[in-house]
């Protein structure tokens, strides 16, 4: 066994020696050629004063062409400082100073203008049959609490966020640099801390209402009829109509995106580099401004846009006629449920009587 191994080793050694000898010969031949070529060149080329120490040196313009960030090695613990140049900051500046304010202004002012126009034309959507005087529970205490926790956080987050983009243009000239800086500092604290209950609210909303917010065939019909917003028809709807489902998904997806990108910015450079930070701010800014515009529509239809709508989130009890007009399928379902369950539940509470 050992003898066999030894012979094998010998043969492999031989072959490797042969190959290396071949390589050596090739190398020698190349060297000889290079030497000849060098001798053929004028003698001046070999003098030390013409040696160009930068012949192989890194050049800034070449590096900038090759990559968006020129990165090297540093000697201080802060790894971010090893980036020598990152000119992408200028693109981000263009976004932050030009693109984002325009997106925000168009989305928010456009939405406001559309709502004012709509109110002037359509007015408040009335309860056609008038109030019945009987109410039905639409949102329980937990649902209302989560809604208002998220909503109140959203309002503070929106105002303090808008302040970052528009404050220096609109508010700073009015109140002066010092007052504006103090307000902005507190707004930043509020923005950071209220993000936690807001995110919690978004998560609970996602879990609490997802069962009623999956798309269904009824939504198609509802959308075809324009949701009854335009015209006087009131297409049937379940507990949430297609418009409300859209608001739900805007809150869940938009809220999820602003929360994720917001935490990236609150914990800067924990998970991402400078390019990631810039991208996080871009996503945060765009989604947040569109979110604000969408919520303006939501606030409108929940208050002055529709008679009897606010009560759903106010007391939780809506008028039966309102419910029949806007959520006919849900009312049918609820009354079927109560018909089926009413006798035992009514009989049970007072066994002693």
């Amino acid at each position: 066994m050992t003898a066999l191994l030894a012979t094998r080793l010998k043969t492999s050694l031989k072959t490797s020696l042969k190959t290396s000898l071949k390589a050596c010969r090739l190398l020698l031949a190349t060297l000889a050629l290079v030497g000849l070529a060098a001798l053929a060149q004028p003698a001046s080329a070999q003098q030390p004063n013409s040696v160009n120490p930068t012949a192989s040196s890194v050049k800034e313009d070449q590096l900038l062409e090759q990559m968006r960030i020129i990165r090297g090695r540093g000697t201080i613990p802060d790894a971010k400082s090893y980036n020598l140049e990152q000119p992408a900051g200028r693109d981000w500046r263009q976004f932050h100073e030009v693109t984002l304010p325009w997106i925000g202004a168009i989305a928010i002012l456009g939405m406001l203008a559309a709502l004012v126009l709509f109110y002037l034309i359509r007015g408040m959507v009335k309860i056609v049959a008038g109030r019945s005087g009987r109410t039905i529970l639409r949102f329980n205490t937990l649902e209302r609490f989560v809604h208002w926790m998220t909503a109140s956080c959203f309002i503070v987050l929106a105002l303090s966020g808008l302040n970052i983009t528009f404050g220096k243009r609109l508010l700073l000239p009015l109140i002066g640099a010092d007052t504006f800086a103090t307000w902005s500092q507190w707004a930043k604290y509020a923005h950071n801390f209220l993000s936690f209950p807001f995110t919690l609210g978004v998560v609970v909303i996602l879990l609490m209402w997802i069962a009623w917010n999956l798309p269904s065939k009824v939504d198609l019909e509802w959308l075809k009829e324009g949701g009854g917003i335009i015209g006087d028809k009131h297409p049937p709807a379940e507990r949430f109509n297609a418009g409300q489902k859209m608001i739900y998904w805007i809150v869940v997806v938009g809220g999820g995106l602003v929360a994720a990108t917001g935490y990236l910015m609150m914990f800067p450079f924990y998970l991402t580099d400078i390019a990631g930070m810039q991208l996080a701010q871009i996503v945060h800014g765009v989604v947040a401004l569109l979110f604000v515009a969408a919520m303006l529509g939501h606030i409108y239809i929940g208050t002055i846009g529709m008679e009897g709508a606010f009560e759903a989130m106010g007391t939780g009890e809506v008028d039966l006629n309102w419910a029949k007009q806007h959520h006919s399928l849900w009312v049918e379902e609820e009354s079927a449920k109560s018909r089926g369950e009413a006798p035992p539940s009514r009989a049970a509470p007072h066994p002693a009587e």
């Binding site: 192989s56 020598l84 140049e85 700073l172 640099a177």
Partner: protein
């Protein structure tokens, strides 16, 4: 008035980091904050170059443009300074800066940032020149004393140049002509939208 600029001649920088140390000492810069640093490109490979980098005091500075509270101002010498009284530590100037110059002391919860700190070109801040308040917030104000930034003044190989842009560009040009090579005026195209022909 002069248009103050920095220029690091990468063919002269020996990565001694004395500029970094001098800056920290002159301004009593807090722990964890570096207004100036030396970055080595292609370390250990042929063509390696080291460049000392700090705030370049850009023309039309991006930090100044993106600041949500407008805490930056550009002096008559074209030095970009800021007010720590107005700064809210949002970190946006760092996202915009092409040179990674702004620094933030870590204060309080999460990754929350304190008042931004960066190279002042040894020119202090908005407070009265060479006052204690100015020194405490921004470090010494050598420019008000008629001196140039210490990092460049004490550079042993005179790799780092500070002063009027035209004058230091002239010095650099003469060097390049004399020695016959150059690896470029690092950061000038990005900061000043111009470069020194070589």
């Amino acid at each position: 008035m002069a248009r103050m600029k920095f220029l690091c001649d990468a063919d002269r920088c020996i990565e001694c980091n004395a500029c970094v140390t001098a800056c920290k000492n002159e301004h009593e810069v807090p722990w964890g904050i570096n207004r100036r640093r030396v970055v080595t490109i292609n370390d250990g490979r042929p063509g390696e170059r080291s460049i000392s980098m700090a705030c370049m005091h850009c023309t039309d500075a991006p930090c100044q443009a993106v600041c949500p509270v407008n805490c930056f101002y550009t002096t008559a010498d074209a030095v970009v300074l800021h007010s720590k009284d107005l700064c809210i530590g949002c970190g946006y100037c760092f996202y915009a800066c092409p040179f990674g110059a702004p620094q933030y002391p870590k204060v309080g919860n999460f990754g929350s940032r304190g008042k931004m700190d960066k190279c002042t070109y040894c020119a202090g801040g908005p407070e009265a020149d060479n006052s204690k308040a100015e020194y405490d917030k921004y470090g010494s104000n050598r420019l008000a004393e008629g001196k140039l930034p210490l990092c460049a003044e004490m550079c042993s190989t005179k790799s780092l140049l500070a002063g009027d842009g035209d004058i230091i560009a002239q010095i650099y040009k003469e060097r390049v002509v004399k020695r016959g090579y150059s690896s470029g005026a690092w950061g000038w195209q990005t900061a000043y939208r111009e470069t020194i022909a070589s």
